[in-house]
Symmetry: C2
Amino acid sequence: MSALAASILSGDPRAIARGISLVENETQEGPALVRELFERSGRAFIVGVTGAPGAGKSTLVDGIVSRWRKAGRTVGVLAVDPTSPFSGGAMLGDRVRMQAHAQDAGVFIRSMATRGHLGGLARATTDAALVLDAAGKDFVAIETVGVGQDEVEIARTADVSIVVLVPGMGDEVQALKAGVMEIADIFVVNKADRDGADRAVAEIESLLGLHTYPEGQWRPAIVRTEATTGRGLDDLVEVITRFGKQSSTIDLRRRSRARTQLRAVLAARLMQQVESRVSEMDMDNLVDRIAARTLDPYTAADQVLGVSGLKGPGSQS
Amino acid sequence: MSALAASILSGDPRAIARGISLVENETQEGPALVRELFERSGRAFIVGVTGAPGAGKSTLVDGIVSRWRKAGRTVGVLAVDPTSPFSGGAMLGDRVRMQAHAQDAGVFIRSMATRGHLGGLARATTDAALVLDAAGKDFVAIETVGVGQDEVEIARTADVSIVVLVPGMGDEVQALKAGVMEIADIFVVNKADRDGADRAVAEIESLLGLHTYPEGQWRPAIVRTEATTGRGLDDLVEVITRFGKQSSTIDLRRRSRARTQLRAVLAARLMQQVESRVSEMDMDNLVDRIAARTLDPYTAADQVLGVSGLKGPGSQS
């Protein structure tokens, strides 16, 4: 075992930070670390928190973390920002809110921004959660800004998915609700003191009413909170704990996560192979011809696969 | 040339609808259609509109479309909803707002939801825009809900990217601004009658001040609008037109789009090959072992690539 892996397993914060940096970058060191840590992971309970901008997710996570800490549990927080593909650290402003925990060795907080290619963030987040898990954190909270497919993918890496809504965020929230419906295990109506909270709860209830939840299957819960005052947070923590006891659901979730991980790693590996076999100049030449409309991207892709030797007998064109 | 391609080129709305359905599905018929239409595309000007939920994008797009129509131009609208991976049509509610154009043969409106795998929506949107382009639409507006990486990818498929903000949407909007900074050619501060509009404009200005825009390079414009009253929309249309005259910027954008398309098609092709060569049962078995923590996803991916014959001499592990 490498010294880094050993330090991570002992819970050393500097080693954890270094480990997360390794899995964030698309080098071979990340996978090597994951291989070392993998068998020692699987104990942490991973909580995904997603929702529209301005819904108060950071404050909510802060409040949940405080309650876990009071109960003597250790926590890792990953603040994921898929909106920031070019510059890391866009969430640092939000992290300031979590300064309450900055001096607490039982809480490890890290911002993650998009690196590399599409799908890379979901893979990196999964691996970063694994590092925190292997380091012995009891809970890992993954907070994502936004409500797009990235967030759905990231939510799929969690054991439980919390979707945060606020009353009166406009008509499009209705569409969002429908979209995140399938990933939400727990709906939080935050800022529940606002006008429209009852209506929001009623709307979620009516959406839930359209589905049938067989005996033994989790029916999404709805919790009202006021994250800024802490109202409702004890309820929320209790519902999270209750969800965690549904072992059959958790097993299904972890299997689905395993599949997502495998697909993501495969996609990244295959693209690496293409890039290692086709010269930058050849790629540029194809891009020029596509841009000039003399070659379509599908025919170009066939050419790349032919040149790279990756187009075998099983392929179609 | 197929009858479908010929009908699309003649602008037949039913053929356009059929063509977009084909490129949405991950079958071989979509690529075949793109191949036929590709050389006949490249004339439309593609306008991407993105921003947070509730920012008023639909109303804004509606207003822009009206102005283009008054100028005698034909328009295609793609309303893309990356938040809805499971159920299509989540944006249909929004589309009701565009009923003003429902009887206008010069406007083609279509909602698109996520299909298939990560990255699939960006590819499908690009191909759908190409169908509208080949059908002779002068403008194609691509409206996306949300502000995640999907939207960034989709914005990259446009000739010009408009990012819509509203005053007072909470602290996280600051983070969003930083994230979408690099993709925005035009910032729209919508609902500009609200408190905080001046501050929003000043904040964008100060962000723009951090960058240097060399002579000849487009400096992102800021336009204030009130989409519901139409105030500022003439300005916005004028700025879009002005951007379209920056041919060197447009060329760069189209080259970047060509590269994105090629990568997306390659990724999809490679994954198809894996799936055609590795049985579902073998994949299930690997997933089981990952979930049981007896096999890590990187080693599993190596096994899949080995079995599928896709792991050649150029690969690393």
